[in-house]
């Protein structure tokens, strides 16, 4: 009989990359259903185009440029595609989405060597690339229209954050914000649905509390203090929590394994950094929304944080 001889340990817990990726995908389902409900067919088209083109670019680049066995089914390109779509308006033309997918996978992920090696969140690289290249299309937001059958030909309007920036327009009610009846990127609108995803990922131990809680806590605290000082100029912190891409970013984008710090303390520093940057951009910057930039900036700090903030060493001081 031939026996295997290998070093210990001899058993494995059974966790896998795809289990984690598909876990996140499941957590995204409620938010996706909300976007289908409020944006209709546009949400479906944008998501499909984004997912398919991300997977296609991943396959082509791995196969023909990197000349290695494509790892299409680990779920990572699928997840990037879905997250990119979640960060786009539901009336964005197909050709722009495809360019975004190329930027996300090609520049954001593969140029660094593929899964595990990228510094920046690929989906956000795609989104910011499009935001800077096509500012008009990327900031024309459809207003919610239940089960709409229209794709690009829809009524558009201001988002909560653009209303706050310009100081005009009627804000949606808190109930509308919670269920997702508001303008914005297709995946960011449903607060309750996003929080359900967060709870699912906590239960499945896909992510820990450190990053989402530190981001949301910092934004709440920062905007809360400003609101107390000057309620006329600065909006209620709850509005900030429920608007823009804050929840989507804090729960699904900033928690990306590859681009966030490895120690618990490092995660808190990273989360607080994102919270402060987002608030500063939202309140004092030229853009109404700062989440994507804040995450990408803190992504750049992640290697530095990892170098200086280590996990608590046994017997250490």
């Amino acid at each position: 009989m031939n026996l295997y001889v290998s070093p210990s340990p001899h058993i494995h817990g059974g966790d896998s990359v795809s289990k984690n990726m598909y876990g996140v995908l499941i957590a995204l389902v409620p938010a996706f259903l909300v976007s289908l409900y409020f944006f209709g067919v546009g949400a479906l088209v944008v998501t499909l185009v984004s997912v398919v083109s991300c997977m296609l670019f991943e396959f082509l680049i791995q196969k023909f440029l990197m000349k290695k066995e494509p790892t299409l089914w680990d779920g990572s390109a699928l997840l990037t595609g879905l997250l990119l779509a979640f960060n786009l308006p539901s009336n964005l033309p197909v050709w722009i989405i495809v360019i975004g997918a190329l930027a996300a996978i090609g520049i954001g992920k593969m140029s660094f060597g593929g899964l595990g090696n990228n510094i920046f969140n690929p989906a956000l690289v795609g989104r910011v690339f499009l935001l800077i290249s096509f500012p008009a299309q990327m900031t024309t937001w459809p207003v919610p229209e239940v089960m709409s059958m229209n794709y690009t030909d829809v009524e558009t309007g201001a988002t909560i954050l653009t209303m706050l920036k310009s100081g005009s327009g009627d804000l949606p009610t808190y109930t509308q914000m919670l269920i997702g009846e508001r303008g914005g990127s297709l995946g960011e609108i449903g607060a309750i649905a996003l929080l359900l995803g967060l709870i699912f990922m906590w239960v499945r131990r896909i992510i820990s509390w450190h990053i989402p809680v530190s981001i949301l806590g910092t934004v709440f605290l920062f905007t809360g203090i400003l609101h107390l000082v000057n309620p006329a100029e600065f909006a209620n912190p709850l509005v900030h929590l429920l608007s823009g891409g804050l929840l989507l970013g804090a729960i699904f984008m900033a928690t990306d394994y590859v681009t966030s710090p490895m120690s618990k303390k490092g995660m808190l520093i990273y989360g607080v950094g994102i919270g402060i940057l987002t608030t500063v951009i939202r309140l004092f910057g030229a853009y109404p929304e700062g989440m994507s930039f804040a995450i990408l900036i803190m992504n750049a700090f992640t290697p530095l944080i990892n170098t200086y903030v280590k996990p608590k060493h046994f017997g250490g001081n």
């Binding site: 001889v5 070093p7 210990s8 001899h10 817990g13 896998s16 060493h313 046994f314 017997g315």
Partner: protein
């Protein structure tokens, strides 16, 4: 709330298939192969030669140096040869081959079955008897026991911690011993307390052995200063530093000995061996070994003479299953894969685990996705994926700065990794290299 260690840890499926099974005594084999190096430190020097007659308990290997241990014959018969043999570590090392004839014991050994209460001995006499009997740590580390009982000058022990965690999945040897030899273990602990001059001993035992906890708690009132402490089930609780942290809430610093926080740790099986050595004059030549595995017909706990082949043990448990892919000496987390089943049982053999071919195969390695799961489970608070990378890039400076030498090789990182990365394989290599560099710098 049950206590446990405070950093990291995992909880793999316990699979204690042989729990609650009575200890069976294995029939004498026809030949035993007794390695001269069954402990950490210098191998013993053979004091017998081909053709010599030996009895059960005869000294056949003399400890050579401070960190070394005596080796005794486990059978009576004639020395066939002294030759190299492939042992559980995977190396060929010298061993004494003895052909078994009858079962004649050295006269000094008390063969009465009954339990005898300890008689009055000084600390020195106890340590001497332990040294003579060739006792080593029976949890698997096989560090010569007398060395641990002789703290370096300037250090005093406050507490004796008895390691009854048996945190490795599958293994139940210590569990069965505690169920059947409770009084003997308690007496052994009392002797060890006297040897290291402490008034207090704590038996740290994981809460998945409730019957053993109840049994020992029932006995503890008869023995002064011994406390039974149930611990939350968490691997690697049996790691010396982890157990001290769980019991005392003190962390032994990098590179320091347990005595630096006032602790001496001994395995529960060692305590039993100490009882036998001191009270019964019996050298360490047999031990309890768990034979187990999901496909094993009759998983069980066997009392077996040192030097018996693993194959004999496997046969006693119902034979080697068809689909066996790996034979492990020890538990699934820290045990060693054996090259064949003719490897002899040694003092450090706590179990024989048969893993199916399907489970034995490693899954394909994928890129690190920096999920930090290995960081979260590392009981030493290290960053395994970083240490693996520093080893791959042979960046020994960075590896040392990130405490690679502190790795206890528990395997929690590799067990947890979703990308199936061979974290511990690489860290072990790097650790060996870095420790070599550190030693060279010191000397």
């Amino acid at each position: 709330m049950l206590k446990t260690f405070r950093i990291g840890g995992i909880h793999p499926p316990e699979n204690k298939l042989s729990a609650g099974k009575a200890i069976q005594t294995l029939a004498l084999p026809k030949q035993v192969i007794i390695p001269l190096s069954q402990h950490i430190g210098a191998p013993a020097t053979a004091v017998v030669k081909k053709g010599d007659e030996v009895k059960v308990g005869s000294l056949i290997g003399q400890a050579s140096g401070f960190v070394s241990a005596n080796i005794h014959s486990s059978v009576s018969g004639k020395v066939n040869k002294i030759d190299n043999v492939l042992d559980a570590s995977g190396y060929r090392r010298p061993a004494v081959f003895i052909d078994v004839e009858g079962d004649e014991w050295e006269e000094a050994i008390d063969r009465q079955e009954g339990f005898v209460k300890a008689f009055d001995l000084t600390s020195k006499e106890i340590v001497q008897k332990i040294t003579d009997a060739g006792i080593v740590g029976l949890g698997g580390a096989t560090f010569p026991t007398q060395v641990k009982l002789t703290p370096p000058p300037g250090n005093t022990a406050e507490i004796l911690i008895i390691n009854a965690a048996e945190c490795e999945p599958y293994l139940t040897a210590d569990h069965s011993l505690m169920m059947e030899k409770g009084n003997e273990i308690m007496t052994g602990i009392s002797l060890l307390m006297k040897a290291v001059h402490v008034k207090k001993a704590v038996i740290g035992i994981e809460n998945n052995k409730k019957d053993a906890i109840a049994h020992l708690q029932h006995l503890q009132s008869n023995y002064h200063g011994i406390e039974v402490m149930p611990l939350k089930v968490q691997y690697p609780q049996g790691g010396e530093k982890q157990l001290i942290d769980a019991v005392m809430r003190r962390q032994v610093k990098s590179g320091a000995l347990p005595i630096s926080v006032g602790a001496v740790v001994q395995n529960v099986g060692t305590a039993f061996a100490v009882y036998e050595a001191v009270v019964k004059n019996k050298p360490l030549f047999e031990r309890i070994v768990t034979v187990t595995g999901k496909e094993v017909l009759n998983p069980g706990n066997f009392k077996v003479r040192i030097g018996t082949s693993i194959q004999t043990l496997i046969d006693a448990a119902g034979g080697l299953p068809e689909n066996t892919g790996k034979v492990i000496g020890g538990g699934p987390m820290m045990g060693k894969a054996l090259a064949n089943t003719e490897v002899p049982v040694t003092k450090g053999s706590s179990g024989v685990l048969l893993i199916t071919e399907k489970e034995a195969k490693r899954k394909p390695v994928m890129s690190c996705i920096r999920c930090t799961k290995c960081v979260n489970v590392c009981p030493m608070g290290l960053n395994p994926t970083l240490l693996m990378t520093t080893t791959e890039f042979t960046n020994w400076d960075l590896a040392e700065k990130n405490h690679i030498a502190d790795c206890i090789e528990c395997g929690s990182c590799s067990y947890t990794c979703p990308s199936n990365r061979p974290l511990l394989d690489q860290i072990r290599l790097g650790k060996g290299k870095v420790m070599g560099i550190m030693r060279a710098r010191k000397s």
